[in-house]
């Protein structure tokens, strides 16, 4: 399954500044965890950020092991710092 992953703040920096990265997921059941592993494989900077971020799935926070479907809007979020 191919998914676009939206990246912000430190995660975007870790992906060489790209706001959207397309990943190919080969797991039988693709999850947020699969996305993270795919990003780590491509961008080593993601390794040191492991466990820091959260998964957003269709504009909602969801557990990192949530199953993903084609067409889902997927994003990885660094700890938020608004205000």
């Amino acid at each position: 399954m191919t998914l676009d992953v939206l990246l912000f703040a430190g995660f975007r920096d870790a992906a060489d500044g790209q706001p959207v990265v397309t990943v190919e997921l080969t797991d039988a059941t693709a999850t947020g965890e699969s996305v993270y592993r795919a990003l780590e494989a491509r961008f080593p900077a993601f390794r040191s950020l492991r466990g820091v971020g959260r998964l957003a799935l269709n504009l909602e926070y969801r557990p990192m092991d949530s199953a993903l479907s084609p067409g889902d809007e997927v994003a990885l979020l660094m700890p938020v710092a608004g205000g």
Binding site: L6, F8, A9, G10, D13, R54, L55, A56, L59, E60, Y61, R62, P63, M64, A75, L77, M78, P79, V80, A81, G82, G83
Partner: protein, 154 residues
């Protein structure tokens, strides 16, 4: 109170406190509390020159709307208004404004404070702080370290 009036906004426009005060005006309200978050000139002992605010905009808008509803569900408020600014802000500019109105003052103070605490740990907004060491050529930036509310799914 589900009848509370709610207003939220996220965007690059300069924040107008009068607009938030107008949004929460209510004949049954005896109290209004308005909080403004402002870009200040220092952080960790260093001189801040500006802050770039960015967001996962569609999700941030949705969570701001959810936040306003949660405030109205938790506190006896007549109205809630929340505005967060995006883009590059100079020292002294407001990045966020939250106003609530209520019959008695305790609810407005508590609702506004709860709202800003919750906003800071749930709404996907990030800030890139620019520092200066006093020489005009220098510009160093770092992401302000953030926090997730403990109840968000991991």
């Amino acid at each position: 109170m589900s009848a509370a009036r709610l207003m939220v906004h996220l965007g690059p426009e300069v924040i107008d406190p009068a607009a938030l005060l107008a949004a929460v005006a209510d004949p049954a309200a005896g109290a209004v509390d308005l909080f403004l978050g402002i870009v200040r000139d220092h952080a960790d002992g260093r001189q801040v020159t500006r802050i770039d605010y960015s967001a996962y905009e569609p999700m941030a808008r949705r969570l701001l709307a959810d936040l306003a509803e949660q405030v109205a569900a938790r506190f006896p408020v007549a109205a809630v208004a929340i505005t967060h600014r995006l883009g590059t802000l100079a020292v002294g500019e407001a990045s966020v404004a939250i106003a609530t109105s209520s019959a008695h003052r305790a609810a407005a103070f508590e609702a506004t404070r709860w709202a800003i605490d919750r906003l800071k740990t749930t709404v996907p907004i990030w800030k890139l702080e620019h520092f200066s060491d006093g020489t005009s050529a220098s510009d160093e930036a770092r992401w302000v370290s953030g926090t997730f509310a403990p109840d968000l799914p991991v």
